[in-house]
């Protein structure tokens, strides 16, 4: 929803299913947002599986908002 134009850095988590749609959208909007892709489908996953997906994506999610050279600790 483009909070970047309000001065707030940010990014998206989206599923692999939407990779192509995202490419088209980025082109149309003229802006390539930071993003992390997670596996698809997820609608049928258990809570434990969702935790697992979140845990595996977490480092990349931090990378959406934190500069590369910065320390997380």
């Amino acid at each position: 929803m483009d909070l970047e134009s309000r001065g707030i850095p940010g990014g998206y988590i989206l599923t692999e299913e939407f990779r192509q749609a995202d490419i088209a959208q980025s082109k149309a909007l003229g802006f390539e947002a930071a993003k992390v892709f997670v596996e698809h489908p997820i609608q049928d996953r258990s809570d434990a599986e969702m935790h697992d997906i979140a845990d595996r994506a977490f480092d990349a999610v931090v990378g959406l908002i934190l500069a590369e050279q910065a320390e997380t600790e």
Partner: protein
Amino acid sequence: MSQILLDPTSELQAQARAVLPRLTSLQDKTIGLLDINKPRGKELLDRIQFRFEELGVNVRRYAKPTMTRVAPLETKQQIASECDAVIEALAD
């Protein structure tokens, strides 16, 4: 039809619209997590929140009323005034 504009700059920057600089530290920062209200997004963000809080980061949660519409202006303004960075999930 897309339009062509001529670059008024010295062209030192990359052609794509640049993203903002990222945060240099998470210390004392507030991260907004915006649930756009797609199935399982809440559970994913619950865990992301937990992991951020483990690092001592403040987390605020926001939700779009429906995934089919853009977030209301108030939500955008609220996030912009309360957060240092924002993560949206599950976006499409």
